[in-house]
């Protein structure tokens, strides 16, 4: 075990000042991913700055009718919050679909967004991995990739982002707020994760040393009628092999508003904007849902072992939207 120092941050400005001077430091939230990676040598920080005592642990309604979720809110608190459950039920469902009760009690919202892929080549330092060691290669592309990306990947990395929570946040146009030594800023989730390209080791658009302080959900009436469904290889405590968050508003049998995002298909939560565009104004029926899914998945690039994800996501979209449409009709 490599020795590291540990300190507990008490206010945001001194915390970001700490990280600015020490590129070898990492923020420690719940530690549910970082500590595992430290045990296996994937992460070897010299310093951990614990952010859980920072005053970022609240969920508040915003003036415009959205929600502002502090970065250190735990996954359990987020999923249990009455306003989350009422206004963005898919978000609560997504969080509860992830990990275990114990892990959700520890894991934070900020940490969830920044968790690393579970690609088994990435998590085992005896293998090459472009994300871990730029330029070392991607054995997954030609090796084992049953649960790897079908959208937005590159020859340099085909790993998927593991977050469930992020999929719902992507569907609801979440905005990530951060502080850094150079000042604060905001990043819409759509711009938060960088394209893979030839730099899979660069995962987010956060400035160096930045600390996520909150995630804001803009008001979205359609989100009140939303759902998350996760498909995995066992009934619980496994990462998704495909998931979807959907929100649907149907009037007179026609799709008035639709939000759709996929998980476990790309290096980031995948907002299905094409499908949404195709579906708006269309009849809320299975054939239209399938057509919309197909439009989104037309860009899919499958590998030897992960082609099943295309029909999986398509079926999931049809099933989920049909459920939501039937409930609206009732």
């Amino acid at each position: 075990m490599r020795e590291f120092s540990y300190e507990r941050a008490t206010d945001v400005s001194s915390a970001v000042a700490l990280l600015e001077t020490d590129p070898d430091a990492r923020w420690l939230g719940g530690g549910t991913n970082l500590v595992d990676l430290m045990k296996t040598g994937v992460e070897r920080p010299g310093r951990l700055v614990d952010v859980r005592e920072l005053p970022l642990g609240r969920i508040e309604s915003t003036d415009d009718g959205g929600l502002r979720i502090g970065a250190t809110v735990t996954n359990s608190e987020l999923a249990a919050h009455p306003e989350v459950r009422r206004r963005y039920p898919a978000l609560a469902q997504a969080v509860l679909a992830g990990a275990s009760g114990q892990l959700r009690n520890m894991a934070t919202v900020g940490g969830n967004l920044l968790q690393r892929t579970r690609c088994a080549y990435f998590t085992d330092t005896s293998f090459p991995c472009n994300k871990r060691e730029p330029g070392s290669g991607c054995p997954a592309a030609t090796g084992e990739h049953r649960n790897h990306a079908i959208l937005g990947a590159s020859e340099h990395c085909v790993a998927v982002h593991p977050s469930d929570m992020g999929v719902a946040l992507a569907a609801f146009d979440a905005v990530v707020a951060y502080e850094s030594a150079a000042g604060g800023g905001e990043l819409p989730l759509a711009d938060f994760y960088l394209p893979v390209g030839d730099t899979p080791h660069l995962e987010t658009a956060l400035p160096p040393g930045a600390l996520i302080t909150a995630v804001t959900l803009p008001p979205a009436p359609v989100a009140a009628h939303s759902r998350y469904r996760k498909v995995r290889e066992r009934a619980s405590y496994a990462f998704a092999i495909g998931s979807a968050a959907a929100a649907l508003d149907v009037a007179d049998g026609v799709v008035r508003e639709i939000r759709l995002a996929f998980g476990a298909v790309a290096s980031r939560p995948w907002r299905a904007s094409t499908a949404e565009r195709v579906l708006r104004g269309q009849p809320a029926v299975g054939a239209a849902f399938a057509e919309a899914a197909d439009a989104e998945l037309a860009a899919a690039q499958v590998l030897d072992q992960n082609a099943y994800k295309v029909p999986l996501i398509r079926n999931l979209v049809v099933s989920l939207l049909t459920e939501l449409a039937e409930e609206t009709a009732r």
């Binding site: 498909v231 066992r234 999931l316």
Partner: protein, 706 residues
């Protein structure tokens, strides 16, 4: 002996005698025992799959904080490795640091010893080992031209002309099945602490047989057997993996070099690499039957991989030799040597993967015959061993099916597939037979009548979490006709003398024979003592070798019937088990409480085997990918539905204890029952384990495309 009539002990539910210690944390496991002057060690495993160690960069590591020693092939003590133990040839990994060859990925190449575990780990992970790499081959699949029939006498069993009987059959099933590489995954990783004490090598370990380990360590280090003592008091699961493994050898080696107590506790990833696993299998089953379901031909060919170091046969084709008769009966095992670790026994070795193939094929045959799967099995029930011609000591497979069918509601089942739907789920039910040998091996035990009126039993048995200690307490109490509270059973210590291991479903049966026989001996001594018990007590000691040699040669097996109901969402590929029932005929059940848990545990393994467990081998590197519980899935609580396990009376008339052993039978047949249920739900057959969502989706697409 001053006794009063006792309520029944054997057959009555009894909580574990060490249960309170375990739930309060008072029970210490192998890596929790304190020692003065204890130092810690860490294994370094090969990252290449074939080649030679060119250089171990020990100088840099020796300078690291706390480091005491770096052992490798260049400096390690020499071992004797060409011996046979009570379980045959040793696992090749015990030849630790004896040569520079790397026969597979994960081969131990060095051990770093340091004052703290953290220092040992950091140094071990910093150790630079240079290799001369050679091309490797880890590709396992059916039809490899280099597959061979091993010399092992049991590899082939035949009677009749298989091809002729297949040709004469009205209905033929010829199907191929695969099962993947699977790992034992005991909750407690392997750990051992070794020290020299009073001229003896003492090892505190977590194993399935302390005598087994002591015997092999004595042979490895060329020590007098009496100068090695191995203890293993509490064990957090074993499943076949906790025999003699590199951790005990490494700890003993380092303790010898440093003359200090040395501990080696494996990480989870290391347990995947160096403690054995179940080979993948590729199996072909050919069944030919008359229109009335009577089997003319039974053919089962099973292929598994082994290392280049030692042939290990996963005896998948063995259970057909017991279960079904046919005019022509051919079973054969083949091996292919690859650059992989040597497989070992794991959870119903042979029967678990073999039953998936055979019991799936039987279901396919029933479908083609338009016959109920249970009726098909009844039609082919043999009166004597199909190949041996020996009588069964007892056999009540059909009774298990009958009782299971009644309780499961089998009669109401519509045999047609894809008839039941509930929301997005298609529902189906399936069944399969189970069997496992019920052997016994020579063991010694002693029983002491203490002056205070209690009794102490000493036997080198192992309680791997099953409740064996409690079962032996009940057995001894019954034989002594005293309350269990007056019996203290001590196990897990090689000083108690030779005894069979907790393995092969033979532990409780073998040990019970020794304990009851020692009690019989003690009763004789006590009668002579005339009620006077000296302060040191009166001890009787027996060896069951003679008793077992006199046992009539018979087909001795447990039997069972497995039932499962599953739900399949063909749109997403998800399969969930809804309920399971297992009815067993497994001789005398000693402790219903722990027996039921053990059978339910076995059936839960079966769920994992059917739906989850699969080790992934990266062919390019020859290493296992995802050697952790995040990637290697076993059933989570949410995957385990209502499982009922129960048993029939199963008297074994000529047997001195009537116990058959229940360690493995719970898993046998479960994967087939689940797979058969998935067919019943969807109309699509699955012949490759596990039944993953991607496979269900692909099968559905192919079925729709047909």
């Amino acid at each position: 002996m001053t006794t009063t009539a006792q309520p029944p002990t054997v057959g009555a539910a009894h909580t574990r005698v060490e249960g309170r210690d375990k739930v309060t944390g008072a029970a210490r496991y192998a890596s929790e025992q304190p020692f003065d002057q204890l130092v810690h060690s860490w294994l370094v495993l090969s990252t290449v799959a074939r080649g030679r160690v060119r250089k171990v960069g020990e100088e840099a590591v020796r300078a690291m904080p706390g480091v005491l020693a770096v052992l490798h092939h260049g400096n390690a003590p020499r071992l004797t490795t060409d011996y046979a133990s009570m379980l045959g040839a040793p696992d090749p990994t015990v030849a630790l640091f004896q040569h520079d060859r790397v026969p597979h990925a994960g081969w131990p190449v060095a051990l770093v010893v340091a004052e703290t575990p953290e220092q040992a780990r950091e140094a071990a992970e910093s150790l630079v080992v240079e290799y001369v790499e050679e091309p490797h081959d880890v590709a396992f699949h059916a039809g490899r031209p280099d597959a061979y029939v091993p010399e092992d006498g049991g590899a082939v069993a035949t009677k009749g002309d298989l091809e002729a009987e297949l040709a004469a059959s009205s209905v033929v099933v010829d199907a191929s099945y695969t099962t993947p590489e699977q790992h034992h995954s005991a909750m407690e990783p392997h750990a051992a602490t070794a020290r020299w004490e009073g001229g003896r090598l003492e090892v505190v370990d977590s194993n399935q047989g302390s005598m087994w380990v002591a015997d092999e360590l004595a042979k490895l280090f060329s020590l007098d057997p009496s100068s090695v003592r191995v203890r293993s008091e509490h064990i957090g699961g074993a499943f076949g993996s906790k025999g003699v493994r590199p951790h005990q050898v490494a700890a003993a080696m380092a303790a010898t070099v440093l003359q200090r107590p040395v501990r080696l506790a494996l990480t989870r990833r290391q347990t995947f690499a160096v403690t054995g696993y179940r080979s993948p299998t590729a199996q072909r089953v050919r069944l030919g039957a008359d229109a009335d379901g009577r089997l003319r031909a039974f053919g089962h060919e099973a292929l598994n991989l082994t290392s280049t170091l030692r042939p290990f046969v996963e005896t998948s084709a063995a259970l057909g030799r017991v279960l079904y008769d046919a005019r022509a009966h051919h079973t054969v095992h083949r091996l292919v040597d690859v650059d992989m670790p040597t497989p070992t026994w794991m959870r119903a070795p042979g029967e678990a993967p073999g039953s998936f193939a055979v019991e799936s094929a039987l279901d396919e045959l029933a479908e083609r015959l338009g016959m109920d799967p249970i009726a098909l099995r009844a039609r082919n029930e043999p009166a004597v061993g199909p190949l041996s011609g020996l009588p069964f000591s007892s056999r009540n497979l059909l009774g298990c099916f009958e009782e299971g069918a009644r309780r499961f509601g089998w009669a109401e089942r519509d045999p047609r597939p894809r008839m039941r739907r509930e929301g997005r789920w298609l529902l189906g039910t399936g069944t399969a037979a189970a069997t496992y040998p019920s052997g016994a091996a020579p063991s010694t035990a002693s029983v002491t009548a203490e002056a205070d009126g209690t009794f102490t039993v000493r036997i080198s048995a192992a309680d791997v979490g099953t409740g064996a200690r409690t079962a032996l307490t009940l057995i001894a109490a019954e034989a002594l006709d005293v309350a269990p509270e007056r019996v203290d059973v001590r196990i897990g210590d090689s000083d108690f003398g030779p005894a069979w291991v907790a393995g092969g479903s033979m532990g409780t049966r073998s040990w019970a024979l020794a304990v009851t026989s020692a009690v019989g001996e003690l009763r004789g001594r006590l009668a002579l003592a005339d009620g006077e018990i000296p302060p040191e007590g009166i001890t009787a000691r027996t060896d069951t070798a003679g008793l077992l040699a006199e046992l009539a040669k018979k087909e001795r097996h447990s039997f069972g019937a497995q039932f499962a109901e599953v739900a399949v969402d063909v749109a997403t590929g998800e399969i969930r088990v809804r309920r399971m029932l297992g009815i067993f005929a497994a001789g005398r059940i000693v402790n219903p409480l722990t027996a039921r848990s053990q059978l339910i545990g076995g059936m839960t393994w079966g769920i994992s085997m059917a739906l989850h467990e699969e080790a992934v081998r990266d062919e390019a590197s020859g290493s296992q990918l995802g050697a952790d519980f995040a990637s290697y899935h076993v059933a989570a609580n949410a995957d385990v539905p209502l499982i009922e396990a129960d048993w029939l009376e199963d008297p074994v008339p000529d047997d001195p204890v009537g116990i058959k052993g229940i360690g493995e039978i719970g898993i046998v047949g479960v994967a087939a029952a689940i797979s058969n249920a998935a067919w019943h739900a969807t109309g699509v057959r699955h012949r490759d384990l596990p039944l993953r969502p991607d496979r269900v989706l692909r099968a559905e697409a192919e079925a729709v495309g047909d």
